[in-house]
């Protein structure tokens, strides 16, 4: 309850969308990576979002003051999962990562999918940024009541 909760909810969404864009960028950057520390080619990552309750600060305040708990409304990145799609094999006998048949495993990453995902994250980020502006303006207006007219 309150104008400042709106800011924390939008902030959680901004964080989640930024992390989504980061993971997508990592996928794009590693589209041709055949060698990783864990062995084998790079595995495409995907994010999972989930809805959560209010900010921890607000929850504790309401618990102490015996106020009702506010509506659940924030979002968080709950986990980053590996894409189970098998790697793409290309015939490159000269490569140090080639197997005995001369095949090299490449990550199954389609740049078009990643770009669309990146655009989606960017648009959602914009939308939440405008929600932040709206909340900021409302807070400013409330403060302006104090100004003598």
């Amino acid at each position: 309850m309150g104008l400042f909760d709106m800011l924390s909810m939008s902030a959680s969404a901004l964080t989640a969308e930024r992390q989504r864009a980061e993971v997508t960028s990592a996928n794009l950057a590693n589209a041709e990576t055949t060698h990783t520390a864990a062995g084998g080619p790079y595995v495409r990552k995907e994010v999972v979002f989930s809805a959560t309750g209010a900010s921890p600060f607000r929850s504790v305040i309401n618990q102490v003051g015996n106020f009702p708990q506010p509506v659940a409304g924030s979002v968080q990145l709950s986990q980053v999962v590996d894409d189970p799609t098998p790697p793409i094999q290309r015939y490159e006998p000269g490569s140090p990562d080639a197997d005995e048949n001369g095949m090299v495993n490449y990550p199954a990453i389609n740049p078009i999918n990643e770009m669309v995902d990146l655009m989606g994250a960017s648009r959602s980020y914009q939308l939440n940024a405008s929600a932040v502006s709206a909340a900021k303006q409302m807070i400013q207006e409330s403060i302006d009541i104090l100004k003598s007219s």
Binding site: M1, G2, L3, D5, M6, M9, S10, S12, A13, A16, E17, R20, V48, F49, S50, A51, F67, P68, V71, A72, G73, S74, V75, G120, S124, L127, N128, S130, A131, A134, A135, Q137, M138, E141, S142, D144, I145, S148, S149
Partner: protein, 115 residues
Amino acid sequence: MSTFSSLQQLQGYLQVVTDRQQQITSNIANVDTPGYHGKDIDFQAEMRQVMSGDSSLQMQPASQEETGLIERPDGNDVDIDRESLILAQTQLQFQLGVQLVKSQFHTLLTAIKEE
């Protein structure tokens, strides 16, 4: 109607608008959450409660799921256009309420100053 009772009603109005704005912000935050269903606050019902002077349920706004929205394949039914529209609407409603509060205080000040 005295200045103070209209101020109290205006406070209730601002509270309802803030609650609705918060619900819309939450919908916007969850625009990419699979399985999330958008919620909204029944503005008219809440305002009726405020005008009737019954403040017993003020702390807990009744948010309900929006109906008639098309669900995407991931089970999420938040409509971005609709949410941004309501965001702009509640913002202006809030501005109106604040201006009315200011004018009430201005009236009060005029009475005090005996001008």
